[in-house]
Structures are given as structure tokens and as C-alpha cells.
């Protein structure tokens, strides 16, 4: 059975090497850096195939997520699975961060 990530050999559109270039934003680079850091030789908190497994768990949502949002979700789930932080800690943090970012975005 094909998972959502299993694109090899399926029909798809043309590749446009000019239009389909994109310089990663700083935010995307930050997510990239978080993933690379949890993989690195010093930490070895996760491996690439584990990250893929997490992304594939998105199921049909896999296609809806922008690339780095998929990575971010994988980092979060991996850290929960490895017990680096708990669901409660993450939720509490998200509540606090939401308040801060919403204020920032509305220009306060």
C-alpha cells in the first residue's frame, strides 16, 4: 500500500526549475536547524527515518502541510515521543506563546 509520501512513478505536473526555486525564509531555516540539531552526532535524539515516519503519520494531511510545517510537526511529535518534553508542557507553552505572538502581530 502506498503511503501519502510515496510519490515515485505517479503521474504529476511539469517541473519548472525557474518558478520552483525558493530561498528559504529565516523561519524555515530555524525549523531546518532544529531538525538538524536533534539529528546531530552530539545529540542523536532522532534519526531521519523517524522524522519521515512522523510526517507520514499525517496521512492525507501530508499534502496539505507546507514542507517546513511538516518538519516542525515531526520535531514536536518526536520530542514528545522521546520524552524530552510532555504534552502538558507543550500545551502550557503554546498558550503563553499564543498570547505573546498575537499581541506582536496586532502591533502591540
Amino acid at each position: 500500500m502506498r503511503g501519502p509520501q510515496d510519490y515515485g512513478g505517479l503521474p504529476a505536473g511539469a517541473v519548472d526549475p525557474v518558478k520552483h526555486e525558493h530561498v528559504p525564509t529565516h523561519w524555515e531555516k530555524t525549523v531546518d536547524a532544529l531538525m538538524m540539531l536533534i539529528f546531530d552526532q552530539r545529540r542523536q535524539l532522532a534519526r531521519v527515518d523517524e522524522s519521515r515516519r512522523m510526517q507520514e503519520m499525517l496521512g492525507e494531511d501530508y499534502h496539505k502541510y507546507p514542507y517546513y510545517e511538516r518538519w516542525l510537526q515531526a520535531v514536536a511529535w518526536l520530542m514528545l515521543e522521546k520524552g524530552v518534553f510532555t504534552q502538558e508542557e507543550l500545551e502550557a507553552k503554546q498558550t503563553e506563546v499564543r498570547g505573546r505572538l498575537e499581541a506582536e502581530r496586532s502591533g502591540n
Binding site: Q5, D6, Y7, G8, G9, L10, P11, A12, G13, A14, V15, D16, P17, H20, E21, H22, P24, T25, H26, W27, E28, K29, T30, V31, D32, A33, L34, M36, L37, I38, Q41, R43, L45, R47, V48, D49, R52, Q55, P66, Y67, Y68, E69, L72, Q73, V75, A76, M79, V84, F85, E89, L90, K93, Q94, V97, R98, R100, L101, E102, R105
Partner: protein, 218 residues
């Protein structure tokens, strides 16, 4: 003289906005990223400086690093042999550590053209080439590179003679590929700098050849 040159009383911030800010990510994504990052810092898993350094490191990778390796292989047969057979040792000479991944270098010849894809995600020789291009991560390339590579190559403007075999290499988490492009005819006696200017990122992914000599002159 411009109209607002002397107008210092119009009330806006004179530090100005010299930088066009990136478009913000979706709020939910920014909340999750900030939360994960801050928790990792609070838990002592990473520091803010580690993140800064990781971004800095990824920015030093790319075409020019890959080009140095390719040119060394073009000009030093013993190095080339090592690169093609035990790439770990060869890469160590450039301070590149692929571990825990393995790098397989595939050589383009008169008869064979190599091309790299990752159908399942976007595995790429990151320690050498940095972040993969957006098209490499997209469904179009991932789906079709293994089914109709010549058609995909044409979309990159790469026309190959029918008698040149195309080999497509599907990367995975543990095994990454780098194409060793063919050194163009007519470059005998060139300096390393001149040769490096020929080597492009796309030629090391195998979707194009190296720059033509005409392109360099222009």
C-alpha cells in the same frame, strides 16, 4: 532634489525598514515553532547559539563546496578513486562528516548520465550542498524523475543523446547521492578556480550538465 529630502517632520521612523521582512508563517505554525524551540532551550537540549550556528553552517554549504570536491576529483585521480569507492575518507579531507549517512558518488561518463531524486521525501547530500532546491522537494520531480527521467531532464533544458544511458538514483534516509559531472573538453590547463566556476548545484544533482565554456566567457 527629491521632494521629501528635507522633510524631517513627517512623523515616521527614520530607522526606516531597510530590510524587506519575510512573510510570516501561519500563526499556528509560528506558535508551535516558538514553543518547541523555547522548550528545547529551557530543557538544555539546544541553545540559541546552537541554532544560530546551525543556520550559519547550512549557509556555508552549497554549490561552491561541491565544486571544490568535483574539481579535486577531476584533477587528482587518486582522490577520485577514493571519492568513488570510500567517500567518507575523501570527504574528511574537506572537513565534511556525512555520518550517520553514507554518500555514494556516481560518475557521469560518455555513456552514462546520472540523476538523483528522493521519491519518498527530500533526502539530499546536505553536508555538501546544503538545503535542497524547492523543486527537488515537490511532488512533480519526486513522482516523475523515476518514471520519465528524460522528459524531466528536458524541462531543465537538458537534452541527452539517445545512446547515453540515464541512471536515476533514489536517495533515502541513510544513503545520499552526489553526481560527479564530466569534465568538459577543452579545459586542459585550467586553474582550479576556473574549473570550479563550471560546476553548478544542478550538475551535481544531475539535472543538467556543468556550465558551458561559452557561459563562462559571457
Amino acid at each position: 532634489m527629491s521632494e521629501h529630502h528635507h522633510d524631517h517632520d513627517h512623523g515616521h521612523d527614520h530607522d526606516g525598514k531597510p530590510i524587506q521582512e519575510d512573510e510570516l508563517p501561519a500563526l499556528e505554525a509560528q506558535i508551535l515553532e516558538t514553543s518547541v524551540r523555547e522548550l528545547l532551550i529551557e530543557k538544555g537540549v539546544v541553545s540559541a547559539d546552537d541554532i544560530r550556528r546551525a543556520i550559519e553552517a547550512m549557509e556555508t554549504r552549497g554549490e561552491s563546496l561541491g565544486a571544490k570536491i568535483v574539481v579535486r576529483a577531476w584533477t587528482d585521480p587518486a582522490f577520485k578513486e577514493k571519492l568513488l569507492t570510500s567517500s567518507d575518507d575523501a570527504l574528511m579531507e574537506f572537513g565534511i562528516d556525512m555520518r550517520p549517512m553514507e554518500l555514494c558518488v556516481v560518475e557521469n561518463t560518455e555513456d552514462v548520465h546520472n540523476m538523483v531524486v528522493c521519491t519518498l521525501c527530500s533526502c539530499y547530500p546536505r553536508p555538501i550542498l546544503g538545503i535542497p532546491p524547492a523543486w527537488y522537494k515537490r511532488r512533480d520531480y519526486r513522482s516523475r524523475a523515476v518514471r520519465e527521467p528524460r522528459a524531466v531532464l528536458q524541462e531543465f533544458g537538458t537534452e541527452l543523446p539517445d545512446n547515453r544511458q540515464v541512471r536515476v538514483h533514489d536517495s533515502n534516509a541513510d544513503l545520499r547521492y552526489l553526481v560527479l559531472p564530466k569534465r568538459p573538453e577543452g579545459t586542459e590547463g585550467w586553474t582550479n578556480d576556473q574549473l570550479e566556476a563550471l560546476v553548478t548545484r544542478d550538475s551535481m544533482i544531475g539535472v543538467s550538465d556543468v556550465r558551458s565554456l561559452d557561459e563562462l566567457v559571457g
